[in-house]
Subunit: 482 residues, 2 copies
């Protein structure tokens, strides 16, 4: 981030926090220049950014004033999905989405990619390059079934922070979190089985269910507290559910962290109904607050929680290094992994192991938590600015994903088609439902840096949404007064 962007972010935060009230005069350019030890032009550029964001208003000959504040939008209400088992659809939409991620000319706000530009990642590539040059023997051959022990030991150490007790022998390395969840599902489920999911829920996981012929039942989920335990219990009484997939920490797409009491409650519910819990902790390390939240696995007493995670969000997806702590399903997970893909790439595993061992991992993750939190505030600010009134926006407790609920008339599937022509890609909410709900929602990847291109892209999304809303309202006859 350049100096003026840094200053702009700082000032925006102060305004957000109410340090300067709406209509209040801001410090003069000269004052700020002295206070922050930066040049006059830096302050001017920073004020220009804030003006573009419509956070401040210039008054000729008297300086800058805080703009009248748009109210903070509310968070989305508890979801109300169709509560019966369904086959997941929309595979074609997903392929389009994934293929376009490769096109560099597209602004892809749809992806789940982390920010890969930070200098704290550098030692990882140095290590990888060193391995390839000096440790060929290990790098070339077949990996063992469970993956490199050096890495499993480091992961066991890291997991202590989340309250998870596991030794290297309890861990199996996989190809990303997708490989972990896949092995978990294959180890536990048969085609035709029913698995419960949060609603909305990550499309990748749901497509996996589809791939294995498993039916999904969507459970109402609160955007701050997580899945409704009452609704889940009802569903468990009504259907022969085999297990439940949960993203309890920095949920994708809602951003909540499930309170510990609820994590405990869900474990005892799983015990009572003898189901398994597939826990996806891929974003858990990116929680805003330190120490990081506990896993559901940490409350598990009889090995029924299969904890899945990876370094795809904390480090880089191109590593394809994930892991699973499969509890009582260890042997079946090993077999499932062997069946699905054989073994893993040794080089990236060893590089990550050294990166953690030498302390680089902790440093990098600490930095990314701060970066993403700041990004998220800025993106939220932009959304408020460019989107129509009547939206709901999540307040994520970590990671870098924002979920926006638009007025019901807006069809994001149509909007996303129009945006595709403008080379902007968004993830319409319907992808996050097995039954095609949430067409008026979208998920935004806020890991993307705060560049002018990204701001402009969001502005354009806002414009297309405004148009769609107007068209929809023109079609709908006004309601007769009651």
């Amino acid at each position: 981030m350049t100096r003026y962007q840094h200053l702009a972010t700082l000032l925006a935060q102060r305004i957000e926090q109410g340090l300067w009230k709406s209509g209040e005069k801001l410090p003069s350019v000269r004052q700020l220049s002295t206070e922050h030890g930066v040049s006059i032009s830096t302050v001017q550029q920073a004020y220009q950014v804030l003006e573009n964001l419509q956070l401040i208003i210039p008054q000729p000959r008297s300086g800058y004033f805080v703009a009248p504040r748009k109210a903070q939008p509310p968070v989305p209400a508890m979801s109300h999905p169709v509560q019966r088992p369904v086959d997941v659809t929309q595979w074609d939409e997903i392929t389009t989405l994934l293929d376009n991620n490769q096109d560099k000319s597209i602004v892809a706000l749809s992806s789940g990619s982390p920010d890969l530009s930070q200098p704290t990642l550098k030692p990882l590539w140095r290590e990888l390059s060193r391995l390839v040059q000096h440790n060929l023997d290990t790098v070339l051959g077949y990996d063992g079934m469970a993956g490199k022990v050096e890495l499993r030991e480091q992961i066991a150490r890291l997991m202590v922070d989340s309250g998870t007790q596991a030794s290297a022998d309890d861990i199996v390395i996989t190809s990303g979190c997708q490989g972990a969840l896949s092995a978990a599902l294959l180890a536990v489920c048969q085609p035709g089985d029913i698995v419960a999911v949060e609603s909305p829920s990550f499309y990748g996981t749901m497509q996996m269910l589809r791939g294995y012929g498993i039916k999904a039942i969507e459970i109402p989920t609160d955007s701050s507290l997580g899945i409704s335990i009452e609704a889940l219990e009802l569903a468990l009484e009504q259907w022969p559910i085999k297990g439940i997939i949960l993203v309890p920490n920095c949920n994708n797409p809602l951003g909540f962290i499930m309170p510990d009491a609820r994590k405990r409650a869900i474990v005892s519910l799983a015990q009572r109904h003898d189901i398994v819990i597939f826990e996806d902790d891929i974003y858990g390390e990116l929680a805003n607050d330190y120490p990081r939240p506990r896993t559901i696995k940490s409350f598990d007493i009889d090995g029924r929680v299969l904890l899945c995670s990876s370094f795809s969000k904390t480090l880089a997806p191109g590593l394809r290094v994930g892991w699973i702590v499969p509890g009582r399903y260890l042997n079946r997970v090993l077999h499932a992994k062997y069946a699905a893909m054989g073994t893993n790439v040794p080089a990236t595993q060893l590089a990550v192991a050294a990166f953690i061992r030498d302390g680089h991992y902790t440093r990098h993750v600490r930095r990314m938590r701060r970066v993403y939190q700041q990004n998220m505030e800025n993106w939220t600010c932009w959304v408020r600015q460019y989107f129509p009134d009547g939206i709901c926006v999540t307040r994520p407790e970590g990671s870098f994903l924002l979920w926006v609920e638009l007025p019901e008339q807006v069809d994001m599937v149509c909007v996303s088609r129009r945006l595709a022509k403008l080379k902007i890609q968004v993830a319409p909410g319907s992808l996050f439902s097995a039954s095609g709900k949430y067409r008026n929602c979208l998920r935004i990847n806020c890991a993307q840096p705060l560049t002018e291109t990204n701001r402009e892209a969001l502005h354009q999304i806002g414009n297309v949404v405004y148009d769609a809303l107007e068209e929809a309202n023109a079609l709908t006859p006004p309601k007769a007064p009651a």
Copy 2:
């Protein structure tokens, strides 16, 4: 290979080829030294090697003579497996096998690892190291669903040699050949389905069937011509078989190359019975003769052959780069791949693409074909030397795997347990059968260099086999004369 080893190999070949007959006197040390331009001691060392192999006999004061020749052992006869669908077993034996591959103190003649020590591989690591240092953007991010187009283009080019017509768009990159076969099975089969396999058949593939709940039916297979088409046809009439897995080129474990007429015949049989063919071509590029044999896929006219392959045998397994040409199942294979493991590591894909593009691949594979052919001759020679009479040995037409059939009384499962105590690991034949046949067989990996350690290991295997045979014979009362 050192100079004397090289000379020893050359002389051994000449003896094998009958250039010097049994009992004939060999050239003097001085003569050979002059002829080959090597030192006297080099020739003496080479003769020592041949003496150890019992290929030559020293006569005091008159020189070396060719030893009386053991007859070339016959090849194994057509196999006779149980011809009904069964569940694959022996997962525990496989995990032991795979785990021990990681222990460097064990001589692992059981593995399928290629020789990774050749200098022609070097440009690959240079490229990988370069990518990690200079092409981070691509290396870090998520790969596309089908894998890197640069690599798919190169694979399409290579496949022309096997008569296979495919463009980059017809190819999907996978995590090794295991990932390719896995996606293929998942795309076509359901649990409970029946798939036909050659007998014997690679244990990894059969464990995959087990992992997906698919039953295997083993079809009689000839060690020179491949699967019995008649037996397959009978099975197809009797059982609802969904598809057949074939390794037609440099078969694992039998080493045959299926004649083109049979490849054609099997395609028309598949059409008549409307089944699919899962073709595993992982060893196809390592055929002794150039140009390499055609794939079954090259005879496919309606997209029912799913061609699976990888660079694990030609380059290195640690790359985890394989591919599939799924014909009419393209979309379902993409979904299956996404479900099973998401996307692949971009770095190794790009390194392999550059390695092929710059001509290093052709050079390396050409060299490896020669190396493996020479190795195989030497290992066959050792086997003949150290194993009891009455064995059958395959005459592989490529790759680096030797299949040895011992007298029926020998139980290689017991032998392998005894060998494990001596830190020698072999793959007993029973792993290659779903129904536990071939307990008197073993597969030997001849990619292992011709070192003294390896020779000594094979000698020890022979000794334990002799012991086992003696014990078995002592237990069996001699047959009464007819």
